[in-house]
Symmetry: C2
Subunit: 222 residues, 2 copies
C-alpha cells in the first residue's frame, strides 16, 4: 500500500524536525510568543544564519509560521498543539529515558536550596503570606488562568522587572510544567540577585488538574 508509506513519509517530515535539540530549544522559546530571527539567535546562542535555517525547516514542516513586521520577520508556533506535542514527548522521555531522569534529579532536585517545592508546600507557605508566587509564562497564558495571587513576569522581561519584587520575601516560581526550563532560569536569576527562590516541582497544568483554585483576572501584574 504505497499510499500508507507516502502518508507516513509526510508525518516523518514533521518528525524529522523534532530530531534536533537546537530546534526543540527554539520551539521552547517560541512557546513564549512570537520572536524575530535575531532575538531567537541571541537567546539560543546560535548564529543568525543557523537560526534562520532551523526556522525555515520548521516552517516547511508546518510547526511554525512566519510574519513580517517592519524590517523583521517574526516566527511563532503554527498551533498550540505543538506545545501538546512537546509535552507528550517530555513525558515519554521522562518515563523511558534513564538519562533524562538522571539529569533532572542531578541538576534540579538534588543539593540544598535548589530543591523544588511541592504543591502542598506551596499551599502551606502561601497561607503564611510570606511568599511571592511568580508565574514565568507568557502573558496570554497567565491571562488564561494562573495560581491565585501569582505575579506574572515573562522570562524575557525578568531582568528588567526583577527590581520590582520584594527582596525580603521568598519567591516560588513556576511555568508550564516540570520540563519547562524557564522557572529554572528565573530561580537562577533571582538567586543571583540575592533572593531566596525556589521552583515549584510541577507547573500550572498540574496545578489545575489537581483541582486547586485558578484565578483568571489579570491583576497582580508587576
Amino acid at each position: 500500500m504505497a499510499f500508507k508509506q507516502d502518508l507516513n513519509d509526510q508525518f516523518a517530515r514533521m518528525g524529522k524536525v523534532l530530531g534536533s535539540g537546537r530546534r526543540l530549544e527554539l520551539l521552547d522559546y517560541l512557546a513564549q510568543g512570537a520572536r524575530s530571527v535575531d532575538a531567537l539567535a541571541s537567546v539560543s546562542g546560535l548564529s543568525i544564519a543557523n537560526t534562520s535555517q532551523h526556522l525555515q525547516k520548521m516552517q516547511q514542516a508546518g510547526l511554525v509560521c512566519a510574519e513580517r513586521q517592519g524590517k523583521q520577520i517574526f516566527y511563532a508556533l503554527a498551533d498550540d498543539e505543538v506545545i501538546t506535542l512537546m509535552a507528550v514527548l517530555h513525558g515519554l522521555a521522562e518515563r523511558h529515558l534513564a538519562e533524562v531522569r538522571e539529569m533532572v534529579s542531578l541538576h534540579l532536585t538534588a543539593r540544598d536550596s535548589l530543591a523544588p517545592v511541592s504543591v502542598d508546600e506551596l499551599l502551606a507557605r502561601a497561607q503564611s503570606g510570606l511568599v511571592t508566587i511568580l508565574d514565568v509564562r507568557p502573558p496570554e497564558e497567565y491571562a488564561a488562568g494562573h495560581v491565585p495571587g501569582a505575579v506574572n513576569i515573562s522570562p524575557a522581561h525578568l531582568h528588567e522587572q526583577i527590581a520590582r519584587l520584594d527582596a525580603g520575601r521568598e519567591v516560588i516560581a513556576y511555568c508550564r510544567g516540570p520540563y519547562c526550563t524557564f522557572s529554572f532560569e528565573a530561580v537562577a536569576a533571582l538567586r543571583a540577585q540575592g533572593f531566596t527562590a525556589h521552583r515549584l516541582e510541577s507547573g500550572f497544568p498540574e496545578w489545575k488538574q489537581a483541582g486547586h483554585p485558578v484565578e483568571y483576572e489579570q491583576n497582580q501584574q508587576v
Copy 2:
C-alpha cells in the same frame, strides 16, 4: 545553560526516531499489539535486518520495548502515550501540511463509493439494521470500549475471518482515528471480496468524545 541543551538533546533522541516513515509505519503496526521481528518485517515489506535495526533504534529511544518469548522476540509500544504522540503528530500534519490534506482527499474521500461515512450517517444506517459495523482495532482496545453492536476483527486476521461476515449487508469499518490506515485496508479487502464497504470518517476516540453510546462487553466477536 548547558543543562537545557543537554535536556533538549535527550528529547531530540526520541524525536529523531519519529523522522522516518518506515519507523512510523512500524509503530502503526505495534499499536495493534506486540509483534515479532519477522512478523513486522513481512507486514511492512522491509528486510528482516532492516526491521531489526529500526526496532533497536526505537528501543534505545524508549518508544518500544522488547521481550523474548520462545525463540522469538516480541516488540511492543513502551507506553500508550506513544499512540497519543502519533495522534497529535497526525493532527498537526493534517492542519499544516498541504500535502497530507491533498493525499487524504485524493485517495480517501474522493471518487464514488470510497467516500467515508459520517458519524450521523452511521447512526442512521445502524438504526435500519441493515449494516454491519466493523471494529478493526486490536482486541484489547475493542474490549476497552467500542461502538454498540460492532464486530471486532483485527487487521491481521481479516483475511481469514472475512468469510464469516454476512455478504449481503453493507459494512462500515472504523479504527483508531482518521489517520489510522487499517480501516482503509479493511475496506479495500472487503470490496475485493465483493462487499459493499465504507470507512467511518473518524474513529472510536472521536465517537466516544462526541458522547455517543459505548459498549464494553466483548460480545459480537466473530
